[in-house]
Amino acid sequence: MKGMSLIVKTITTVIIGFIFIYGIYIILHGHLTPGGGFAGGVIIAGALILRILAFGTEAGSEKKSEKGASIFESIGALLFIGIALAGLFLAGTFFLNFIPKGIPLQLWSAGIIPFCNIAIGIKVGAGLFSIFLALAAVKYVMED
């Protein structure tokens, strides 16, 4: 697919970093404000999709993106299962909240929830990005 005009390309290079950081903010504050892993993951995927949409596929970087997305997706899922199993091995019950819960309403509180949010955020971001690549960017589908 072709990229977009020069104005869009310039603005995209400026704004992708901000969108990414906004997504990370929503993920990390998942236990304090609405949002959390899934919503933040969608925003991160939005940043990655914006880059592909603005610059087009002529730069030829979808193969690397596809491989990277697949690996990050597996890493996110294994991180989540690892946290749950760590609850099992370190403290006795599957999925137990074993990190000290701290003072409420601080960023470092609520046990395993921030880590679970991070794992979900990575997985959802990578997953939605690879759905986009499979449906729209890889060339074989709509040949006519």
Partner: protein
């Protein structure tokens, strides 16, 4: 009561789209309607009159919240619907690649 009725109407519109429309994409959109309707119904079930959104903003807040469980269920249901819709759309795209049409009346190689 009016709001629950509107959920049912949305559900029926989606069901009508799945059953009668011939274009594959419209069938997928019908599924999206049904999922909206069910999620809306779920969120409305948890409503309690005159209470606040279930977010703790101060440490010693009186716990007068609407029911937070349906909101968690809706989150899960949205993610599942996302996965299903993505899979449906990729199958529809590949069907277009093979049959060169989106019309469901033409896609009938399997019989018996």
């Amino acid at each position: 009561m009016i709001i629950f009725l509107s959920c049912i109407i949305l559900f029926l519109i989606g069901l009508y789209a799945i059953v009668t429309k011939r274009n594959l994409i419209k069938i997928v959109i019908g599924f999206a309607f049904i999922e909206y309707a069910i999620n809306l119904l779920f969120a409305l079930i948890g409503f309690r009159q005159g209470m606040l959104a279930p977010i703790i903003t101060q440490v010693d807040m009186p716990h007068r919240f609407v029911d937070p469980i349906p909101q968690a269920l809706v989150l899960t249901a949205i993610v599942i619907a996302l996965g299903t819709t993505a899979l449906m759309l990729s199958v529809v795209l590949r069907i277009y690649n093979r049959y060169k049409t989106f019309d469901i009346a033409e896609i009938r190689k399997l019989k018996g």
